[in-house]
Symmetry: C2
């Protein structure tokens, strides 16, 4: 079973807004065993929507359209779908009343335009929208399931997870392709490829992988009925884990930061950060995790030499001798941060994010990352490319992985 | 003149990778006066690519394909294009030798697979790739311009900016639609809409806008020949600037952070940050700007109460009386940071990012943002929604705008 995605909106074609709906829906559909055949972005144009829909219905059993459910003249998704299916739009009184009271609660009269949002294709099921006035809808016709969702990602994703995904899980239980994603860090794509080849010629499900900086995401695809698919995946996962060990840090939506947070909680340890070239990016990644305040004491973005010496207490002679960007400085920053914030662990990052070097003329992208614990201090030296933001991103990624591995090595 | 975009890659359809190529190309094409008619994501499948290409060539004068230029069997973009155009692929010796020496410089022999990357459609122009082994290419046939670019965004965007965009600017100078983007912050979408209506019924070019948090991006579209389009845009921009004043903070690729950096340089002032709930996000935004180290002294992510009192010197009695999340605390954090880092300006952010509240039971999303300067200390209270990351993002956005406006108000 496969799906086509159609994202509607002029703002997507002018690049005013990034389209994250395709990626989100693709991942969710895959987790339910449904492949996405093709994804199109079309304009707020009735003919364009109808043409895309006709092509999609020809090829896929499921078609999901996002966007075009608003109250303006540019919003015409339901009209286009109704036209293709040769159905009428009918007024849903319940939804109309609900919208009217939504506005009156705020002391406003419902604009006349919004009325069209209560028009529904005859025979369609409405989908609850907890963040907006546009109802989603779903209709089955001609052996096709057509799903209409709002464009704004937060409205769309909540509606999909609450109302569509559970429905789809049960839609075609007979023959599925299930996917499990494993997250790895610290092993290059070529080395990974070699190790996977070592799995030999067993009846192994297809594994695809893609590198993102120092991380590699693996996707295992199990086919068959739900039971067979799950079993195939479980077997493959077991073998991959024995092959790759700690290089695998998690699965599905796990991130390096979420794993570090879990490990800190498990070991009941606190952490602090001293960042220079990463400029707050590492702290930002860590503080995305709910509950981290129990374990993250704080961080210092020591962006000038003055702050490194006066606040972290780094020795000016050391800095002069080894340089602001050096192993000695990274280690000193990590150890000083551990002391300064009185934490169990600390990381220090110093380097040259670019685009220019500094008075040392060391190469742009040179970064030292140190992690300090009661057991000692480890440091890695890297030469990172890709520009300023990439250097910040990659050094933070690497720091999180070093912290993760340090935590894994600690017996409690 | 319009363009169709075709992004090729299974990893885009499984959601393993987000597709940022469509947005990037759309914005670049718009800046050159070319509208994007439709954008499709297709699988690594010859028939799918050919079908998408045929449809695109029927409708648009320019077709840009990204992806499928790698050395594996899944890479078949050139083969598909050659097939549709009924042309041959020929070996480009120069590129082959270049690739061979790229590998031999690293002490490796070029894998046999890579050879196919030196195959080029007869009559096509090669496009330089500074980040990888795949050459891009461009060919004009049947009144259509077909451009093939690598999939990885960093390779694709550099190649496009260096080799394609300059070519496209001269491709159809007769009748263009040019776009200018203005960036605004601190004015809501509805208020903006009202003000734009005040422009009245002059012969005004179309203006579209979209809100992103506290920012609103405006796009002015000028049509006609290059001279007319530019003049229409200039006139509209002048009127919008007199209407909207400081709400407009920049244009095109300007960001709040880049504008703050420019103003700091202009006024020769330094800045420091004390962040709690934003967790390093504000520091991260600021340090994305090259050269900021001249003006950004440093930041403290004071994530625990202990750090607020012991490092920033906040009064424990004050915290007890007013609470960790309060106007008094935000102001105290900003003033303390200015003192601690010895900077001209400082910002302090305290709030509840969520998903849970703390012992105060104040509402999640409650944030206080303060900006301190020699002239005094201002504070804004906000109730932000959208989840933890959104609260961090929006409070940082707002802090940057408050810093920007403070800098604008300073006479030098």
């Amino acid at each position: 079973m496969q799906a086509d995605l159609i994202c509607i909106g002029n703002e997507l074609l002018t690049g005013l807004i990034e389209n994250s709906n395709t990626g989100f829906l693709a991942r969710r559909l895959w987790s339910a065993g449904i492949e996405v055949r093709e994804a199109t972005v079309v304009a707020d144009d009735r003919e364009a929507i109808k043409n895309a829909l006709e092509r999609a219905m020809e090829k896929s059993e499921i078609v999901i359209l996002t966007g075009g459910l608003g109250p303006t003249d540019d919003d015409m998704t339901k009209e286009a779908v109704a036209s293709i299916l040769d159905l009428q739009l009918v007024l849903n009184r319940e939804w109309l009343e609900r919208m009217e009271s939504f506005f009156s609660c705020r002391g406003i009269r419902m604009p006349e335009n919004n009325r069209k949002q209560a028009m529904v294709i005859e025979g369609a099921a409405l989908l609850e929208n907890q963040c907006g006035t546009a109802p989603g809808s779903m209709i089955e016709r001609e052996g096709r399931l057509i799903i209409m969702l709002p464009g704004p990602p937060n409205e769309m994703s909540l509606m999909f997870d609450q109302s569509v995904l559970p429905f789809i899980f049960n839609y075609n239980p007979g023959n599925v392709t299930m996917v499990k994603t494993l997250k790895c860090c610290g092993i290059g794509e070529s080395m990974l490829e070699e190790k996977i080849k070592m799995l030999g010629s067993w009846d192994f499900p297809p594994i695809s992988y893609i590198a993102r900086g120092f991380e590699v995401n693996l996707q295992i695809k199990g086919k068959g009925n739900a039971k067979e698919a799950a079993a195939a995946i479980e077997k493959a996962e077991k073998h991959l884990k024995s092959l790759l060990g700690d290089h695998i840090y998690g699965s599905e939506d796990d991130t390096l930061a979420s794993r570090v947070a879990e490990l800190l909680a498990e070991k009941q340890m606190t952490i602090a950060l001293a960042e220079s070239c990463s400029g707050g990016h590492l702290s930002d990644m860590l503080t995305d995790i709910p509950g981290i305040s129990k374990f993250y004491k704080g961080g210092l973005v020591a962006y000038s030499e003055e702050v490194k010496t006066s606040k972290l207490g780094l020795d000016q002679e050391l800095l002069k001798k080894e340089g602001l960007v050096s192993e000695a400085t990274a280690k000193a920053m990590a150890e000083a941060a551990r002391n300064y914030f009185n934490s169990d662990l600390a990381a220090g990052i110093t380097g040259l994010a670019g685009p220019d070097s500094d008075s040392s003329n060391k190469p742009v992208g040179l970064v030292y990352i140190a992690v300090s614990s009661a057991k000692g201090c480890q440091c890695k030296k890297m030469n990172l490319g890709g520009g300023r933001q990439m250097v910040k991103e990659r050094s933070s990624q690497l720091a999180l992985d070093m912290i993760r591995r340090t935590l894994l090595s600690i017996r409690t």
